[in-house]
Symmetry: C2
Subunit: 313 residues, 2 copies
């Protein structure tokens, strides 16, 4: 970063593309967003949208983009469940040709990990993991003081670790993936299961009367108001979140988890059950420092902030 | 490594301590073993044994030791399920004082990963994982071209990742740990379950007639002779091994797995089911290169060879 030129990053989501510009000190000096183009012919309009957003934020010289899916180490978006028609999408090359300067591309959760590690909740750590708890679960890894991408760029797909081979089917084709339980849609499933068992009466009322309409936020709001049955569902949800975090800790021994994604909005509610269950589910919890578990400093902007930092890696 | 002095490594196991000496070219020029002292007052005798073994192999100037448990980044063996009385055992400091030269200590599976990555099956890789399938499961990680220890030295405890929260109890206190299924004792459990269901008649006969006496090697030997019911158990075992490998691949995206430990002895039997199930259980297997799965080049010596390389890190 030289001469005060602005660092711009864009986080491409399924519904919106969110951009930020960072000042020299890493603070967010501007942000902007555009709807993500939808439909089978949306790739060219997507390049238009990202180019427009980059211009509006003053990008010049370089740009970083976080993309929601498998991004190869060459910056090609191989597949993205929430973007129509994506397959081997050379988002970096196409956008770079349009803008006339280099564009760096990486997975959105990997970008968020970079942001939190460099400027956010995990400053100073050498081994940390970022876990986004949203509709699904994404992840980013810092190990031994370096951002990790894996051999092909696909590290951090934590959401599809199978935690119950006999569990509910996942759209990915397997059963019992972690994100079936520990994501926003997982919380909704646990709530609907409880409602089908004639629990959660007040939550079902809140959802309009049909247990099938219960969503995660209905449970969260009821639990925040002190509803005991809703709190029991939050506890079960916290156990599933903790199970995956414990598994990751057994594997990689991070000193910290940063939790991001939409569920971080009700953070005060989840921290206690996650922390309690984590100590139950980790191997030899009494013989090791437990990793800190905190929520993303940059909240929903973490992916865009990290994208802005990509060109400096 | 200078002046042809010999590099010596010792792998401390629950029943024996195995040492090797490496020549300048990395070849094993000598090996030796001693029984591991047992009993509550075994720590001082263990230092005696390791010192004796180091001398017999010509260690001078430095030594590496692989230890079976949680080893801190300072080389202290914090806990070891298969060594009596171990707690905060300063094996490195004590042995170093006895020998009069530095001693490096790390986890045994981490040592094995170092051996296979540096001199064995995984030469040239930047992202690989070693998984030891023995009585339990241990692991070692290389990511982004570096041996990974985690924040506290405890990375690679793959065996206690929970893969079925309602599964059988594990001595560690949790349920459904991966090593309940995918280790040597896991294979025996799957076989006893099959035998209790009146399958595996020939395997039960092989074990002496009582299903409770069936061990992994009875199933393996029967399967190698073509027994269909034994092969079905091996297939189920392969599915459990693959489940954990797929979870690790989703998390870390290695280009290769090296399988070590006692089960590598029947390798030709396990490779096909593990490989087949792996492609079923991995997220988006058609969109990515599948990691190679191979058996440890150094077999049961991998831990000792890697220990000999520790001082050079």
């Amino acid at each position: 970063m030289t001469n005060g030129s602005v660092r711009v990053g864009i986080d491409v989501g399924g519904t919106k593309a969110l951009g930020v510009a960072l000042g020299d000190d890493g603070s967010i000096v501007a942000q902007d967003l555009r709807p993500t183009p939808r439909g089978i012919d949306s790739l060219e309009p997507l390049i238009d949208t990202l180019s427009d957003l980059a211009h509006s934020l003053g990008a010049s010289g370089r740009l970083g983009v976080g993309a929601p899916g498998l991004v190869t180490r060459e910056g090609v978006l191989r597949a993205a469940p929430n973007l129509d028609g994506v397959a081997e999408f050379e988002i970096g090359r196409l956008l770079s040709e349009r803008l006339g300067h280099p564009v760096s591309v990486d997975n959105d959760a990997t970008c968020a990990a970079l942001a939190e590690w460099t400027l956010g909740a995990a400053i100073g750590t050498t081994d940390m993991m970022l876990v986004t708890l949203g509709t699904g679960i994404g992840g980013g890894i810092v190990a031994n003081g370096e951002l990790q991408r894996g051999a092909h760029g696909f590290a951090g797909e934590f959401g599809h670790m199978v935690v119950d081979p006999n569990g509910p089917p996942c759209p990915c084709g397997r059963r019992g993936c972690w994100e079936r339980y520990a994501s926003g849609s997982g919380l909704a499933m646990l709530a609907r299961q409880a409602a089908a068992g004639r629990r959660l009466r007040s939550v079902v009322e809140r959802a309009g009367g049909d247990p099938e309409d219960v969503r995660g936020e209905h449970v969260r709001d009821a639990a925040l108001e002190g509803d005991g049955e809703a709190r029991a569902v939050i506890d079960e949800f916290g156990r599933w979140v903790a199970l995956g975090l414990a598994n990751l800790t057994n594997a990689a021994d991070p000193e910290m988890f940063v939790l991001g994604g939409g569920l971080a909005m009700g953070s005060e509610l989840y921290v206690e059950p996650i922390t309690r269950w984590f100590a139950e589910l980790l191997y030899q919890p009494n013989l090791r420092p437990l990793p800190r578990i905190e929520f993303a400093h940059f909240g929903p902007l973490a992916g865009a902030v990290g994208a802005a930092l990509l060109p400096e890696l």
